[in-house]
Assembly symmetry: C2
Homo-oligomer: 146 residues x 2
Amino acid sequence: MKVKEIADAAGVNPDTVRFYTREGLLRPVRNPDNNYQHYDAEDLRRLRFARKSRQLGFSLPEIRQILERADDQHSPCPMVRDVFEHRLAEVEREITELQGLRTRMISALTAWQDMPDGIPDGHTICRLIEHWDDPSAAPCCGEQTS
Amino acid sequence: MKVKEIADAAGVNPDTVRFYTREGLLRPVRNPDNNYQHYDAEDLRRLRFARKSRQLGFSLPEIRQILERADDQHSPCPMVRDVFEHRLAEVEREITELQGLRTRMISALTAWQDMPDGIPDGHTICRLIEHWDDPSAAPCCGEQTS
DNA sequence: CTTTGACCTGTGAGTTGGTCATAGGTTTTA
DNA sequence: TAAAACCTATGACCAACTCACAGGTCAAAG
Ligand SMILES: [Zn+2]
Ligand SMILES: [Zn+2]
Ligand SMILES: [Zn+2]
Ligand SMILES: [Zn+2]
């Protein structure tokens, strides 16, 4: 298979195939006649595996490690399980962080409903933003949060 | 104020101050004697404003636009409100996406509890990943989801 | 007076996972 | 035979910083 063929078979951009090849995830053989890369069914399996792993949150270096370990006939499963749990915790941390941002944004929107637009006066840039207090921040100079 | 002073006053990395300066958010004057940048109270206000805006999800180009608009004595408020609503929708989309990932990961973890580790046999790389089906994907070749 | 350490300068690279542009070579089709 | 579609490698680009490097400046301590 040539680049576009394997790319179509896996539903990815041909540049992604070239990128994964450069990164060592795919290992095509080169045709010396025309310098083209030739991918086989094994490469397609690896490519699909890589895409599936990406959907599960694995990074490219991690996927490469899994593939290399499998090439050496070592079971990648324990490492997969371990990485996966760390990744899940990280995803949950990101969700929490984004939900915090969402909460901040909604509280700001609510407060802004009652605030008029202002003209910058050299003392203020935009009161909407400046008068918004980060609920997650510690009081900075003795302020009391009622 | 010199770089480290304004950075400490705003609680950011001095490199961030230099970066924001390069990006046009801060406009220090240069001391011709020693080539040092000199920041004033206005810059500190802009820096704190920029950090607060970042916490609310604004991008650097957006913050620069707000600052430039305020410099021209035009009210940035309508634009702030508009950008903000789009950003909120985007944040909620990201949250949904991450929660989808989390759901996929947890369903995978659950399924993996009953699966033994396997040795790669040239036909399989890692059954944990390969036998996991993306619940959000459409059936690919006539499979029925029970 | 000199040395040391903390600070300053600009530039460029690294992060992540691709995507796109460029310029030139090859194969297939009309 | 010429256009269309494909291939190649390389490098830039995205976001928002962070860090490393090499060299200049300045205050205090010896
Ligand atoms: Zn496995
Ligand atoms: Zn305060
Ligand atoms: Zn405003
Ligand atoms: Zn199928």
